[in-house]
Symmetry: C2
Subunit: 157 residues, 2 copies
């Protein structure tokens, strides 16, 4: 079964390659950028400016082939790929919760950008605490993560 | 530009059609189900059992064609599609944060299922508070939502 998607827009960011790009929005608080939503979808942005945060689902187009066991950026041991947020995945969909600074026509000004310039955007959703927060959660290996880093190296190229 | 994905697994749930399916995991606390991960991807599930919650990205295969302005389940007014969590979207990717009860081989027992039986799974990610929680967020029209409902009707068929 093949599933086919087409981008609804594109990310503009200060990062030109995965290496050196922040690993998550929460580790990219000062990184500003924008999403350019293609003209045919701009009417769907109505009311979005009421939300302080949005979820971007993107096609991580610069990732390489995936492996089912990886050493994540925040650890030194092999972990199952689906227990990590590593960017190279069977379907390389990135999930980024970013701050929405403003909406001007089809352009969304965003803060907390962990995406490479030119990344295709598949979907934009409003961030809703009731739906998306889980409060106290158990977080396996990440509770004892052995490395502290804010930016990616080249392990998933 | 076409982006092509293939499912890594499938959802088993008590819901056979979108109508009557919970609108979000947070409104489906008693709904149990499972994800069956296909054999070729099972090695990627290692370490996942340490996490209390997981993020499922799914292809919402039962949705109809989208409109850029919709009346969401929780309101009575037209809203921009990307300011809603309506299931019919240009790229109908569902984001569900569900509770992970256990992992047995390629089967994930989950609670809080807001997906129709047979939904193709595109990606599984561990839920990580630092990455996915935003604490106090501003939530536009949803702060004054005019309807209370837990399950979907047939407006997006």
């Amino acid at each position: 079964m093949k599933i086919e998607y087409e981008p609804i827009g594109i990310v503009h960011s200060p990062f030109n390659q995965p290496q050196g790009t922040p690993i998550q929005p929460s580790r990219a608080k000062n990184a500003a950028g924008s999403v350019e939503v293609y003209q045919e979808f701009v009417d769907g942005l109505c009311d979005l400016d009421g939300f302080s945060h949005i979820i971007l689902l993107c096609h991580l187009h610069k990732t390489g082939s995936y492996r089912l066991k990886v050493v994540p950026f925040l650890d030194t041991q092999l972990r199952g790929l689906f227990a990590t947020r590593a960017p190279s995945r069977p379907n390389p969909i990135g999930l980024s919760v970013v701050e929405l600074l403003g909406v001007d026509g089809g352009t969304l000004a965003i803060q907390g950008v962990d995406l490479v310039d030119g990344t295709p955007v598949l979907d934009i959703k409003p961030y809703v605490g009731e739906f998306d927060d889980r409060g106290q959660s158990r977080e396996g290996w990440l509770e004892h993560a052995r490395r502290q880093t804010n930016v990616a190296d080249d392990r998933f190229k």
